[in-house]
């Protein structure tokens, strides 16, 4: 097997893992919202760039609310420790949180960003650090993320 197809297989597997977690954690309405997110955000990342689109998703995810932020961080870190628990509640912004989870799950599993950054998501310094981190690593992220997100899109279109 070539190096490239190896990498892609790994991306598909991660997509499957992440997608399963989202399916389990969301209700019907969130799933439907997530399907639309998965369908058009890949294209948006392509045209507007990863960093702008990421922070658009971040802002739409309603994480200014402290409770939502806390439950999101708990959800994310439990999933990264391979024992996902917690639910994404039923609001409109839940589908954006789900997509945010999809992206952060990949970046963390592939060790493109480290977990200390994710622990600091809830404070301003951490978020500022995230902007800098993403700009520094933009070439790697853009190159790697697309296959995975297209896999997510296909899964969403097939299963929701």
């Amino acid at each position: 097997m070539t190096y490239e197809s190896n990498v892609h297989n790994k991306d598909y597997k991660l997509a499957l893992d992440a997608f399963k977690i989202i399916l389990q954690a969301s209700n019907e309405k969130t799933k439907e919202g997530f399907r639309s997110r998965a369908r058009d955000l890949v294209e948006e990342i392509y045209t507007s760039g990863f960093v702008p689109t990421f922070f658009y998703i971040f802002s739409k995810a309603g994480l200014e609310d402290k409770n939502k932020m806390d439950s999101f961080i708990t959800f994310l870190s439990s999933a990264l420790r391979d024992s996902p628990n917690g639910k994404l509640e039923e609001k409109e912004d839940a589908s954006y949180r789900a997509y945010l989870f999809i992206i952060l799950f990949y970046l963390s599993k592939e060790e493109i960003i480290n977990n200390t950054i994710l622990d600091n998501l809830n404070n301003v310094d951490g978020q500022l650090g995230l902007i800098n981190e993403f700009y520094a690593k933009a070439p790697i992220i853009s190159a790697r993320l697309r296959t995975y997100l297209i896999a997510i899109k296909r899964l969403a279109e097939a299963l929701i």
Binding site: E44, V51, F55, Y56, E64, L128, I131, N132
Partner: protein, 281 residues
């Protein structure tokens, strides 16, 4: 330099009236808007930065919640963009079309040179990317020309649909082709070549009842977005070799553009007037 410092520099363009000149001349509107969207979407983070710049300082002084501040900033961005007008770029677009025309002439095409002017605010490409991360709706934008444009496919589509209605499907297939045969008429994208005052103008749509079950759920949701201003002249070319396709298309053009070319024409947006039609053989 830290990236966030660079982002804050971007804000100075929004803030400083003198820099407006350089915003027009040196900045690519597409990347400007996507970079600005980072600051807009993470406004609370940038406001807490120690190195205040005067633009962000305004937002930290105002006493209201973050949602309201974002709404104010969104309006500010829309207003700054609407001041964006570079006559030089419009001239370039005109020269580009001239150049294209002379090349097509050398290839022995018959060319129709069309100029249309917006009568009302115009929307085209609402679901494309310019400013989508701020306004959640877009405008067809060519980042290399640094100008909004009307895609040729859109112009062709609307003319075809009109000809189908009037002359029948068979005739339309004859002119525009089908899956078996290629069409015998070509269109170019339409670029703005002249503007009275502005190219962009901010606008708002405020649905009260969409997806609401009853009066008790009704709620106004103002959505600020960009549109193309009235009195902007767009120019495009239609070219072909078979002489007989010229007449139906020329006859259709004035009617089609009056009825609207773009989005939301049922409520009077995107209406045009034909101001110039020149056939070059």
């Amino acid at each position: 330099m830290q990236i966030n410092q660079y982002l804050i520099k971007i804000l100075e363009f929004l803030d400083n009236e003198e820099n407006k000149v350089s915003l027009n001349k040196n900045i690519n509107l597409f990347s400007f808007l996507s970079t600005t969207s980072i600051i807009f979407n993470m406004l609370n983070v940038f406001m807490s930065e120690n190195s205040y710049n005067s633009f962000l300082e305004k937002y930290s002084i105002i006493d209201c919640d973050i949602k309201h501040k974002k709404a104010l900033m969104k309006r500010k961005i829309a207003e700054s963009i609407s001041k964006y007008l570079d006559k030089e770029l419009l001239k370039q677009a005109n020269a580009y079309t001239d150049n294209l025309k002379s090349m097509l002439k050398k290839l022995h095409y018959t060319i129709i040179d069309v100029k249309i002017i917006t009568r009302t605010k115009m929307l085209v490409g609402v679901s494309t990317s310019l400013g989508k991360l701020v306004f959640e709706s877009g405008i067809s934008f060519d980042p290399y020309m640094n100008l909004p444009y009307i895609p040729a496919s859109e112009i062709k589509g609307i003319i075809r649909s009109y000809i189908e209605d009037k002359l029948g499907e068979q005739e339309a297939k004859e002119i525009f082709g089908d899956t078996e045969r290629e069409g015998s008429i070509n269109f170019t994208d339409a670029y703005p070549v002249r503007a009275e005052n502005f190219v962009f103008v901010p606008d708002v749509i405020t649905p009260h009842y969409s997806k609401k079950k009853s009066e008790a759920d009704a709620e106004p949701t103002p959505i600020i977005h960009l549109t193309i201003a009235p009195k902007v002249t767009f120019r495009f070319l239609i070219y072909y070799k078979r002489e007989d396709v010229g007449k139906p298309v020329c006859d259709t053009l004035p009617i089609v553009v009056i009825k609207g070319l773009g989005a939301r024409s049922s409520v009077g947006y995107s209406l045009f007037e034909l101001t110039g039609l020149e056939v070059v053989r």
